[in-house]
Symmetry: C2
Subunit: 262 residues, 2 copies
């Protein structure tokens, strides 16, 4: 007769595992000796070896009980189920691994490579940290909802960086948001630049996305993000409104007003 630790050692499992199998009724409780210790015979060893082998093969404990005494059909079905489950788990982990691999290459997991390239270009153009972080977070919002569309947009965005006025705008914004001061003349310059660019896009027929059938939530979040990030963004919205534009990141033409927003 064996003690619990001898039994466990024979089957290559821990004592705790054996007690667990007792607890869930997978392995019957054996007789106790006069001091209350469990004493195991050869049948218990055979049972435990079977259990341990199946468990090691990835069979859920709940199914092992049925499995060890099932007929052909039940057995085959169970094996099929288990195999499918394992296959799915493996596939999921494989996907995780490729994601992790992309992680090793920087922002690439959260943003499509095109966006990463765009942000890199901004950095090269001397755009400051805070502005780039705002851009990145904004693109994360967009990419979360429209991963494919964002990729389509990027060539245009990248090309627009050839326009010296746009580069100038980014640099002005950099200067604005890199300190904690409120530089009113500089903000006016930024607003003028943005208004001019918006007007040009408007003339060229580039309206904002049709609000009728579009999901505006990402754009709303974009506005919100800017307002949350820096109180000066509120002032910028005001300045734009004075110039006849509503919004900050997605501009709409409105009658110019000198009023306060909200």
């Amino acid at each position: 007769m064996l003690t619990i630790s001898q039994l466990a050692a024979y089957a290559g499992v821990t004592v705790r595992a054996v007690r667990h199998y007792h607890q869930i009724g997978l392995l019957p409780e054996p007789e106790r000796d006069r001091s209350g210790y469990r004493r195991y015979g050869a049948h218990a060893v055979v049972s435990l070896v079977k259990i341990a082998t199946l468990a090691d093969a990835g069979v859920p404990l709940a199914e092992i009980a049925d499995l060890v005494r099932a007929d052909e059909a039940t057995f085959a079905a169970a094996v099929g189920r288990i195999d499918r489950r394992l296959r799915d788990e493996i596939a999921k982990l494989e996907r995780s691994r490729t994601s992790i691999a992309r992680l090793a290459a920087g922002d690439a997991l959260l943003l499509p490579p095109e966006v990463v390239a765009y942000l890199k270009r901004l950095r090269e153009l001397g755009v400051s940290g805070p502005v780039i972080e705002g851009e990145r977070d904004g693109w994360i919002l967009m990419a979360a909802r429209w991963p494919e569309r964002v990729r389509d947009w990027m060539p245009g965005k990248l090309a627009s960086l050839e326009d010296p006025r746009i580069v100038r705008l980014y640099r002005v914004l950099s200067q604005l948001f890199d300190t904690s001061e409120l530089d009113e003349p500089l903000m006016a310059e930024a607003a003028d630049l943005m208004a001019a660019l918006a007007e040009e896009a408007w003339q060229a027929g580039q309206r904002s996305i049709d609000p009728a059938e579009e999901d505006t939530v990402p754009f709303d979040l974009l506005e919100l993000l800017a307002l949350e990030t820096d109180p000066r963004a509120i002032r910028m919205v005001e300045l734009m409104r004075e110039r006849g534009w509503d919004g900050w990141t997605r501009l709409e033409k409105v009658p110019p007003s000198p009023g306060v927003m909200r």
Copy 2:
């Protein structure tokens, strides 16, 4: 501002997951509106998208907090750790899958194919169910401790089935244990056969395994298994002892005695 379900939907997670992230401090609790509802801004969306993306990539939640604001080296190390962990998990599941595949082919998971072939041969020779089950359980015990050695033994075991006396022995045992009667003359025949075979093996120099340096536990369990399985095995041991052999599955020469065992 978003409600919790809008936030969750945007990031593609469940409401419960968001609350869980709050609970473990992964995502900061937002302001509440006057009815106690959580209200989220754009920054929360960005944070949650990051968290969800990393979690989906298989990063443990406990590491995500560090990961989203780690320096280069820490980040690379963490990514390396995570990738290794994923690789190991995949490898384990792959092994499980091959095991499961073997399961689909019968006993093959618990016993080496050679033993399965041996048992199949016994069945062909007309050995009855109970005896085969006893054999199988016995081999499970042996294979659990000595998987390799068992495979080496099998060619000899298989060859021994060419000996008509051994086949006869198996058939007598089948007849004996297939009913619940105690057939004394048949038991005597079985004992005579076993004794003769043991004597022959002994003459041929095939001693039992050297008990000095051997692990006898598997053999002890084998004896125990027989005694547990059927009380008539006790009688068989007595009969063998009268013929000068000790044990039942691993025989040792002893002075013949008509006494009772133990």
